[in-house]
């Protein structure tokens, strides 16, 4: 791969927010490789809708931190075309919901171009999508649409759950020769965590076991990872030893890590914010049900996903649409104690 940067050993770590970690990753990628450009709406002097690009325009100039008009379809398409022909664009959507306007270029063009052309080109574009609910922004600014993209061969789809991974997965995405879609939960932007200095990557397609346990496997994505860990801490006090897996990538999915865990615990709980039906949890469940772990299951698989509704505005209703720690606790208890 013809990328100017190389993976260096992880050096010292400090606390950064998730947003700062992403910004640092973009700055490193731009320093290391002239071909990297940022594109998106109000990412320049405004600093991005969530202040993720911050003052990068001052450092790298408006030629490389490019404010687009409010034109998601065209903007995403320009990023795809630039990627095919020699740039390495990182395209920011203001909200993941607006990807719906750009689906044509993402699904029909970016995802398929290499295949359709018999491998003659690659499409090294990165797209960043602030996603998820919890901000009171209602039905058109709160969705979790990652499963849509996970359904498309040709795309890679990641959901970093920590500042460390937000940086490492973005740097991996920039190096990747294929289109990578990064879903960043808006409520995580302010989350703090240890982030190594310098350049490092987190492999796309590899899940992380965040907590080891024997009684139940909780596979979670994005913001649900922290909720699952919080639930696991409480469960530990009740004598339930939960293993928590942070899936990190939904396409390609890390089958091995999940299957091995379920073989050990014999129980599977999937937790994700996207709408439950036909969501990420459906794939995790099917993957396990089709695997050698099936014979080890002591209870039916359980999915906790988003409600079958658009996200409402009222904060109590909004909260009720996505799995909360108490829901994870209840589901894990039922699973382990055999109430089901």
């Amino acid at each position: 791969m013809n990328v100017a940067v190389e993976v260096k050993a992880e050096t010292g770590a400090r606390e950064l927010t998730y947003a700062q970690a992403i910004q640092e990753a973009m700055a490193l990628a731009m320093e290391a490789d002239e071909r990297v450009v940022l594109m998106g709406e109000d990412i320049g002097v405004y600093g991005g809708a969530f202040q993720v690009t911050g003052n990068l325009v001052e450092r790298f100039g408006p030629e490389r931190v490019i404010d687009t008009p409010i034109s998601e379809l065209g903007g995403a398409g320009v990023a795809v075309g630039a990627a095919v022909t020699g740039l390495r664009p990182i395209f920011e959507f203001q909200f993941s919901d607006f990807a719906t306007l750009a689906m044509e270029q993402i699904v029909n063009q970016a995802a398929k171009m290499r295949y359709m052309l018999g491998g003659a080109v690659s499409v090294p574009v990165v797209m960043r999508f602030p996603a998820g609910s919890g901000t009171g922004a209602a039905a058109q600014h709160s969705q979790s649409l990652e499963a849509w993209f996970g359904h498309v061969p040709g795309l890679k789809v990641v959901q970093p759950a920590t500042p460390h991974d937000a940086k490492g997965l973005l740097l991996a995405a920039v190096q990747d020769p294929d289109p990578v879609m990064i879903f960043e939960h808006k409520l995580l932007y302010k989350m703090k965590g240890e982030v190594p200095e310098g350049f490092y990557t987190v492999p796309i397609g590899k899940a992380a076991v965040r907590r080891e346990g024997r009684d139940v496997t909780i596979v979670a994505t994005s913001i649900m990872v922290q909720k699952a860990l919080d639930a696991a801490a409480t469960l530990a006090g009740e004598g339930i030893d939960a293993e928590v897996i942070d899936l990190r990538t939904i396409r390609p999915m890390d089958r091995k890590t999940v299957v091995e865990s379920v073989k050990k615990t014999s129980r599977l709980l999937c937790v994700y914010e996207g709408v439950k039906t036909l969501g990420v949890g459906a794939e995790i469940s099917a993957m396990v049900a089709e695997s050698e772990a099936f014979d080890y299951l002591d209870a039916p698989i359980v999915r906790l996903g988003g409600a079958e509704t658009p996200i409402p505005y009222n904060p109590d209703l909004e909260r009720a649409t996505v799995p909360q720690v108490e829901n994870i606790l209840a589901a894990a208890r039922d699973l382990v104690r055999g109430a089901r």
């Binding site: 709406e41 109000d42 320049g44 002097v45 405004y46 600093g47 809708a49 404010d67 008009p69 409010i70 034109s71 998601e72 379809l73 065209g74 919901d97 607006f98 306007l101 901000t135 009171g136 922004a137 209602a138 039905a139 058109q140 600014h141 409600a307 079958e308 509704t309 658009p310 409402p312 505005y313 009222n314 904060p315 109590d316 209703l317 009720a320 649409t321």
Partner: protein, 344 residues
């Protein structure tokens, strides 16, 4: 019937007056002023409630843009329909919504226009022809064209108006919708409220033509540029475009040049424009001050009349906030209601 000399003189004087004063009664003109105050005070009331933590999420205030909302809607009947934008509180009030139920919506209550489901960005009042604000820039433009298609097919005589910002003119939906409205000669009026910026991005940086109305040429419809802070100009352009639409002559694109005083939303640091620019608009070209002065000049209102309207609006806003506070919150059990139509 023979007229007295005096009456003839009055008619002649009236004929020489600007459009607004020929076309509307003094009561209607004073009502327009009241609506402009109501919008401004509503926005300020919403902002204050947000600061006090009574409203969550975010909101986009239309302070400074009252003349375009009110001037356009003056040309419409209650049956005519509008689609609005993320900056839609003013359109909603101008189209006749009750501020009580708007506040209730922002407070997330069941008495709100969307029963607490929509909030600021989805405020609507379908009974008054407001098909809703929109979280998607440009999202309402094709919908207005759809409303106009219905009006034409069913022969209802209704006109549809789509409000949108300057930023929206770079979305594909804008171009596709204008083209269809034109080829099918639909009764729709496109109203661009050009406040100079889409978030931080100026029109000059985002748009290939100097005026949004220049786009009209590409779709063979009239493109009208007006000072959107002068109510009489807005109302005149609106009446002409609405009449054209009602007569079956097709769509018009009106561009109201205006300005938003507040930041884009609650998280804007205003780094893309100067304090002087904002001050200049607020002090030199405020739509409410301009209209007030004009009404005084034409003898439609005096100081006491203005004071009475202001007091009335204050009361209405205070009552609206109290109503919202006192209203019940939705039940979690109803979460899935209205995802689909309940079939009998």
């Amino acid at each position: 019937m023979a007229r007295s000399t005096k009456a003839r003189g009055q008619t002649a004087a009236k004929a020489n007056q600007p459009f607004l004063y020929r076309h509307y009664t003094p009561e209607q003109l004073r009502e327009a002023l009241r609506k402009m105050y109501l919008i401004r005070r509503f926005e300020e009331g919403a902002e204050e409630s947000y600061m006090r933590g009574l409203i969550h999420g975010t909101m986009h205030l239309s302070i400074g843009q009252e003349a375009s909302a009110v001037g356009i809607c003056m040309a419409l009947t209650d049956e005519d329909q509008i689609t609005s934008t993320h900056r839609g509180h003013g359109h909603s009030i101008a189209k006749g919504a009750d501020v009580k139920r708007m506040f209730a919506e922002f407070f997330g209550k069941t008495t709100g226009y969307c029963r607490g489901r929509g909030g600021s960005m989805h405020i609507a009042d379908v009974t008054k022809g407001n098909l809703g604000a929109n979280g998607i820039v440009g999202g309402g433009i094709p919908i207005a064209v759809g409303a106009a298609l219905t009006a034409k097919r069913l022969g209802t005589g209704k006109v549809a108006v789509s409000f949108f910002g300057d930023g929206a003119n770079n979305e594909g939906a804008f171009h596709e919708a204008l083209n269809m409205a034109s080829i099918w000669k639909l009764p729709v009026v496109f109203v661009c409220e050009n406040n100079g910026y889409g978030m931080s991005t100026s029109v000059a940086r985002s748009t290939a033509v100097p005026n949004i109305a220049d786009r009209a040429a590409a779709y063979s419809m009239p493109g009208v540029i007006i000072d959107g802070n002068i109510l009489s100009k807005v109302a005149e352009a609106a009446n002409e475009a609405v009449e054209r639409a009602r007569l079956g002559q097709g769509p018009t694109l009106i561009e109201c040049k205006t300005y938003r005083y507040r930041g884009h939303s609650k998280s804007d640091r205003n780094r893309y424009r100067t304090k002087e620019e904002i001050e200049q608009w607020m002090t030199q070209h405020d739509p409410i001050s301009l209209y007030e002065a004009e009404l005084r000049e034409f003898g439609v209102i005096d100081e006491a009349g203005i004071a009475a309207i202001r007091a009335d609006v204050e009361r209405e806003i205070a009552e609206g906030i109290e109503y919202a506070k006192a209203s019940p919150a939705p039940e979690i059990a109803d979460l899935e209601q209205d995802v689909y139509t309940e079939l009998a």
